[in-house]
């Protein structure tokens, strides 16, 4: 009985001796395999959610994401919508747009961003859906705005 318990103990210990170097040498491969698991994605609170539609005009590409109402279970009553502004090469000094984030034909808010001074002016046009400006900041070569919105289903 003692031998029966001793053999797996030594075997497991030898495996552990190999497991540490293997964890690091094979890290890239193991990480790629791990990344295939369904939960290996960033929560939309951080990623900003999926892109709902893209508006392209002469100077700007505007990506409007689906509103995020993240909660541990179900949806929260308040969330945010993320808008990304990308220039053809550089962002223009002034970005001024009215946005209909839910594509219902009603403009929801108005943004006036000065990309040089980092100043953002925000005006709510649809008080039923929109609460306030959350974040407005330069990220790498583009500008991201998060606007706090109400969950129409709650």
């Amino acid at each position: 009985m003692k031998t029966l318990r001793t053999i797996p103990a030594y075997l497991w210990a030898v495996i552990c001796v190999l497991l540490i170097p293997a964890t690091f040498i094979g890290n890239d491969g193991f990480a790629k395999q791990l990344a295939k698991l369904p939960f290996m994605k960033i929560n939309p609170i951080y990623s900003g959610g999926e892109v709902a539609r893209i508006i392209q005009d002469s100077t700007l590409k505007i990506s409007i994401n689906k509103p995020v109402f993240a909660a541990l279970i179900g949806e929260s009553s308040k969330g945010f919508v993320q808008i990304k502004f990308e220039g053809d090469s550089l962002l223009p000094e002034i970005i001024s747009r009215e946005i209909d984030f839910d594509n219902d034909g009603v403009q929801d808010f108005k943004l006036a961003i000065n990309t040089k001074t980092n100043n953002t002016q925000f005006e709510v046009l649809n008080k039923k859906d929109v609460i306030d400006l959350g974040v407005s900041t330069m990220v790498n070569d583009y500008w991201i705005v998060r606007v706090e919105v109400r969950n129409p289903g709650k």
Binding site: K2, Y10, M40
Partner: protein, 387 residues
Amino acid sequence: MEKTPTFTTEKSIWKSTLLLIPMTLLTFIFITGGNPNFSSVSNIVAFLITFLFLNYLFFMILYTGKTDRYRAAGFIAMSLFFALVFIVNLIKARGSMSFNDGTLLSCEIPFCHIVTTMIIIPIVFTQSIIFPGSILEGFASIGSMLVIVIGVSLALGRGFCSWGCFYGGWDDGASRILKKPKIRKINPVFRWASFAVLILVALGAAMTLSPTYCDWLCPFKTVTEYEKVTSFTILLKTIVFVSLFAGLVIILPILTKKRIQCATFCPMGALCALTNKVNVYDLRIDKEKCTNCMKCVKACPTMSLDKIDVENGKPSITCMKCGKCIDACSTNAINYHLKGTQVNKNLTWARMLFLFPAFTLLVIFTGGTMQQGIVLLIQLFTTGSLF
């Protein structure tokens, strides 16, 4: 009394040298990444210092039979060099140690192993990870760090906290500054405090869908990165984490000679303690050799040993396998042990089978950062600038 072990490396230069050879090879592979960079004198000097330092430590562990004394030297070096290299690289990349909304929105925050404690419940309910990092891209991606956490926990259990955690060396180092503690009596019940922190931060993270410990409590933001102070709330967070660093990582470890942050406040430590249950390595006290002098109880930096544990012949699951109790024991009654084997047999084999993976982990985490750190220090002395 059972027969004492016949195979030992202690005081044997030949046996110690022979067992050092595989570690020398591993050290070379891991600190060069298999691709040595000897393009400059500072790189060669940094490589040689790191290579010789780590091999000297392992040789001394084998030759003297002392574990903690030499482990701690490497472990403290790892934490100090990690902080230096991390901060310098951060300032080079971002211009400061602070991150802002832009960094958060671009999901560029390096994933630290402690975050693991906060993502588990949200993964179950939301099938996603509540951290502004990258799954595979960039430095310390989530995928890469989770592989390390899983691999190391399976292999070493809470040994991770004494051999691989790049923060632990701070309070380990602070706990060694004074020769004798100023605060002697600490109720061992505090060793369970980290489990309370684990439960609180895990539930807090689940309720708020944010890594609460990173947001509010992590003392090590002081020596890595922190949120740029742009509001009163962020100022409050900054005061909290700097105070926790000063109190738990520096002042209390100096006064108590215990690793207070690791033992009482680190949620990752508590999670790793749970993995000690499924881990093959532990420490055992040979009751026939034990004289109940309680030197091990006094020495244990995590309060994982008390009188009852000594009577039971093993430390509690909070043991970090640092080996300080082994070094403190004057009758050699405490040893590394493989679960399922006899307590007082094949002691050197059990010790070697633990030391090889544990020291390899130390080499992997120390090697690269120590080399980079030495290059930076040479640059500082020769040019007057780290950047």
